[in-house]
């Protein structure tokens, strides 16, 4: 299947065409949601087909990177000269690390569009921007040329800036500009690192493989440490790692629900993906030298994020801080430099994408139906909205790592690999598991169960709507599916990670 068909580009192009169509709707903007949904649905179906082909007939279309030690084994590889005078080539392709993220992107985009079904404020811009965001994220997860990667990386900022700034909460201006500038500065550190790698490699190509190949002999240790520091900062702010996380709670609290879902579900993953795709394999000696820094930052993010959750009154802010904690596990997994740890890190990215989408959607439901997300004002909502509170409970349980749900497998493996590398230092991150259970249960108890609240008018509170329930339901089904059969994703990630690890000279 797909032989000779530029399927990855077609999938990236789908939302772009969709966005153009929605922007051109003019007076018929009430149909924007239909246009957006259909184009993102096509992209979703195609990407799932790609994943199936990848699984059923591995290597059948594999071209691209093969050599003695083997860089990545990319399938659906496409390459076209773009800016010849600067050595820039449009290259896209998918491997076991990129593919799960790619599919996650089309999935969450489609579900977010469905979730926003009753958006009345400027719908054509809203859905158009969501599609452009999808284009950017898809490009990041599939491009194999640094310049192209960076272009997609930056494209993501603009729609998110507008989504927060136009459709956001009361403090949206501040949050939007803070998000834009904070993450833009991080991107620029990344840009300088990319330029430095390009010139140091001296092959007049921005292709990831070319630079990687040349870098094996051209990159000195000092250069690697400096460049790794810059890329790590660039990706780490997106991740986000403590102490560069402060843009995240503001952005989340103000963003509309679908914006939060895409921000936490996809944009944060870009940071983790960059570390494992760019920073570690291309600059292994730099990564080695800064391994302990990565680990310390990871553990700090895990603990600090979790502790801050305990103090939150706003349900959504709590979920935002919990993202910092859970993305810390991704970084911790990578920092171990073990097969298990890196696989677990990638798997945790996927798992967190599913789970956090549920959590933010449920925060959105509470806000939408009750008019507030402040935990002290809520209470006893399970009587008024039984389905919603069940879904929220499942989401919380999944996020705190209940066995059988997807996060458990991921976090368990991260912790196991941590034990392999640093033995008893494991006690530090494992504290967070208890804290996590604490803040989720406590929040659940105060908002959903117990006596009915008197602080808000609950007369008109009704249960979850179909367009809100359907996406959450689909996500919960997937959370359970991949929780029980994590191998469905592992088998993609595992071989790709073996190659990354080969580059590190370990195993």
């Amino acid at each position: 299947m797909f032989e000779g068909v530029p399927i990855v580009s077609i999938i990236i192009l789908m939302p772009l065409i969709g966005a153009a169509c929605t922007f051109l709707l003019g007076r018929y903007e009430k149909y924007a949601k239909w246009v957006a949904l259909s184009f993102s649905l096509v992209a979703l179906v195609l990407s799932v087909l790609v994943a199936l082909v990848f699984m059923v007939e591995p290597d059948s279309t594999a071209t691209g990177y093969h050599d003695g030690r083997g860089f990545y084994n990319f399938q659906f590889y496409e390459s076209a000269t773009w800016i010849k005078s600067l050595g820039i080539t449009y290259i896209v392709g998918l491997d076991g690390i990129g593919l799960p993220m790619f599919v996650l992107t089309t999935l969450l985009s489609t579900l977010s569009i469905l979730f926003s079904w009753d958006t009345k404020l400027r719908p054509k811009e809203y859905f158009g921007l969501m599609l452009i965001l999808e284009v950017g994220v898809l490009g990041v997860f599939s491009s194999l040329d640094y310049f192209v990667f960076y272009v997609f990386w930056e494209i993501v900022l603009i729609p998110m800036y507008f989504m927060i700034g136009v459709w956001g909460g009361p403090n949206k201006d501040y949050a939007a500009i803070k998000f834009f500038i904070y993450t833009h500065i991080a991107s620029l550190a990344l840009l300088i690192a990319i330029m430095a790698m390009y010139f140091q490699a001296g092959v007049n190509s921005f292709g990831m493989e070319d630079i990687w190949r040349a870098g094996q002999t051209e990159f000195t240790k000092v250069f690697q440490v400096a460049a790794f520091g810059a890329t790590f900062f660039g990706f780490g702010v997106k991740l986000p790692m403590v102490p560069f996380h402060t843009w995240l709670p503001d952005a989340h609290v103000e963003a509309p629900t679908a914006g939060s879902v895409l921000l936490a579900g996809l944009l944060l993953k870009m940071g983790g993906y960059g570390i494992i795709r760019v920073a570690i394999p291309t600059l292994p000696e730099g990564a080695d030298a800064l391994q302990i820094v990565m680990a310390i930052v990871a553990i700090a993010s895990i603990l600090y994020g979790a502790i801050l959750c305990l103090a939150q009154k706003d349900l959504k802010k709590m979920v935002a801080y919990s993202s910092i904690s859970h993305m810390g596990f991704v970084l911790l997994g990578f920092a171990t430099f073990t097969q298990l740890g890196i696989v677990a890190g990638v798997f945790q990215m996927f798992a967190h994408g599913l789970v956090t989408a549920v959590l933010f959607m449920m925060c959105g439901v509470v806000q939408h139906h009750c008019g507030t997300r402040m935990i002290p004002s809520l209470g006893g909502l399970s009587k008024k909205m039984p389905v919603a509170s069940t879904m929220m409970t499942i989401g919380f349980l999944a996020s705190l790592g209940l066995p059988g749900l997807v996060s458990f497998a991921a976090e368990f493996m991260v912790l196991a690999s941590m034990y392999q590398t640093w033995a008893l230092w494991l006690f530090l991150p494992i504290i967070s598991v208890a804290i996590t259970a604490g803040y989720y249960m406590w929040a659940l108890q105060r908002s959903m169960f117990g006596p009915m609240t008197q602080k808000i008018d609950t007369a008109h509170v009704h249960d979850i709507s179909w367009f809100e329930g359907a996406p959450v339901g689909i996500l919960i089904a997937l959370i359970a599916l991949f929780g029980v059969f994590p191998m469905l994703i592992f088998q993609y990630i595992d071989p790709a990670v073996k190659i990354v690890l080969g580059l590190l000279g370990g195993g």
Binding site: S85, L86, V151, Y161, G165, I177, I192, M195, F199, Q200
Partner: protein
């Protein structure tokens, strides 16, 4: 050598001058003033078409120069293309703005003359020709910035510009005389060669006279490009001048200053580079910082664009201390993209002014509802100025900053990485005030009545939008041309790095 040899090379200038002289006469003949603006457009479009067919399409080659004062090489060609393109945008944007003026013929004549002067600077191979070009463009610009005679701000702008411009001309001329004293010639490339090969003691001994000339040029031409600390006039003049003329000053006049800067610093006195490179580097960084920091606090959009234009000059200045072929290419590339982004942005402001909406930042509130076209175009220009891909400003900043990164790998030049870092941090800073305008347009509530965009202005803005997007998505042709222009420099002087 016959007179025809002169005519061959000078055809673009002659074309522009003849039309410029015709303008006042046409003003008497035609009642419909749109005809005049069309006639002003004609020579610009002709020159632009010729240059494009040469540089990008390769279907025509300009004649070899037979005279020693000017030469049309690819460096000159690209700069001339910038000037005539900005000229096209400005002329298209003007009719609505000056429709009630009595002297429209003179207005267009002055625009054409200013552009003639700029093209002479770009083509000059001789310091005298360069100075003549600077003056032709300068004097026309002074008159243009004071064109709305009855308006106080416009008169103030013209006076200020005139005094500062006269002073800077004097400094430039004095520096030129010093260079002539050292080299015994006014030919730019010859001065470079003489400095490289001469054994005269006063030249070997760290070129004190040349350095004095360099300092004076930094001040003299530094005024033209609004380099800190010689930038103070720019915001007042840009604010006071008729808005299309502000676009001309920011997008073209300033680029003429860069053409002169590149010619003198990178050809004539390139061998003394190690003596002035650090000074220029510091001034470049200061120019970025001062421009951006003051832009943040502006409430008038024309002043904000003026300060942002100062900051952009700081980015372009990176090319001088780095002084590699690639850096020159980056400098020229950013000059090209900046010409379109800046003139486009000023045309949007002109459109707002022409329909009496206003020039304050708050007048942009809710613009996306009132005129989606203006708001969207402005957003593209501002994002491109901030260097967000895939717009033109990103590509050019990418080449420019990466040239500094490349140079920093050479031993003893490690500090040049700070030029790139400063450029990058300043780009992030500039995003703050650009984003605020975008925020006003899309996220704030404003009056609801529609803004009617005059058709010619709409066309001007569309031209700039198309260029910003097209160069951003497919920069290859322009980058290649810019790299060729960078290469021409190394061919002129034997000691070129």
């Amino acid at each position: 050598m016959s007179v025809w040899n002169y005519l061959d090379v000078l055809t673009p200038q002659l074309l522009l001058i003849v039309f410029a002289l015709l303008m006042p006469a046409l003003d008497y003949i035609f009642k419909d003033k749109r005809v005049i603006s069309m006639m002003a457009l004609a020579p610009l479009v002709a020159v632009a078409a010729a240059l494009i067919s040469w540089i990008f399409l390769d279907i025509w080659t300009p004649p070899e120069s037979q005279i020693s004062l000017i030469d049309l090489d690819i460096f000159a060609g690209l700069f001339m293309l910038v000037f005539v393109s900005v000229g096209i945008v400005v002329v298209l944007g003007s009719p609505e703005f000056i429709k009630n003026d009595k002297n429209q013929g003179e207005y267009y004549a002055l625009i054409l003359l200013a552009i003639t002067g700029m093209t002479i600077v770009a083509e000059s191979t001789d310091l005298i020709a360069l100075f003549v070009g600077l003056e032709i463009a300068g004097i026309s610009s002074f008159a243009l910035s004071g064109f709305r005679k009855t308006e106080k701000r416009s008169a103030e702008a013209a006076t200020k510009y005139f005094i500062v411009g006269g002073f800077s001309s004097a400094l430039t001329l004095f520096a030129i005389s010093l260079l002539y004293g050292v080299g015994g010639t006014t030919n730019i490339a010859s001065i470079g060669s003489i400095l490289t090969t001469s054994t005269a003691p006063w030249i070997i001994d760290s070129h004190p006279v040349v350095l004095l000339a360099a300092v004076m040029l930094m001040a003299g031409i530094g005024f033209k490009i609004a380099m800190v600390p010689f930038h103070m006039w720019a915001p007042d003049v840009y604010e006071g001048a008729p808005t299309p003329i502000s676009g001309l000053l920011a997008a073209a006049s300033k680029k003429m200053g860069f053409a002169a800067f590149f010619k003198i610093f990178l050809v004539a006195i390139i061998v003394t580079k190690t003596d002035w490179e650090e000074a220029v580097a510091v001034l470049a960084i200061l120019t970025m910082i001062v421009g951006n920091l003051i832009a943040v606090s502006q409430t008038n959009i024309k002043r904000m664009l003026a300060y942002s234009s100062i900051a952009q000059a700081g980015y372009i200045l990176i090319a001088l201390p780095v002084a590699t072929q690639y850096a020159v290419a980056g400098g020229i590339f950013h000059i090209i993209t900046h010409a379109f982004m800046k003139s486009g942005a000023f045309m949007v402001v002109a459109a707002m002014g022409a329909v009496a909406v206003g020039e304050k930042l708050e007048d942009f509130k809710g613009l996306s509802k009132r005129s989606p076209f203006l708001a969207f175009s402005m957003t593209l220009f501002l994002l491109s100025l901030a260097g967000i891909p895939p717009l033109a400003g990103f590509s050019s900043k990418f080449v420019l900053f990466s040239s500094a990164v490349e140079a920093s790998f050479i031993d003893g030049q490690g500090w040049m990485i700070w030029l790139a870092v400063a450029g990058v941090l300043n780009s992030a800073l500039s995003l703050y005030y650009y984003a605020r305008v975008i925020k006003n347009m899309y996220m704030e509530k404003g009056p609801s009545e529609k803004v009617r965009v005059p058709p010619m202005l709409g066309a001007a803005i569309s031209v700039a939008v198309i260029m910003v997007v097209a160069i951003g998505i497919y920069p290859d042709a322009v980058v290649t041309a810019c790299r060729h222009a960078g290469e021409t420099f190394s061919g002129l002087v034997s000691g070129w790095p």
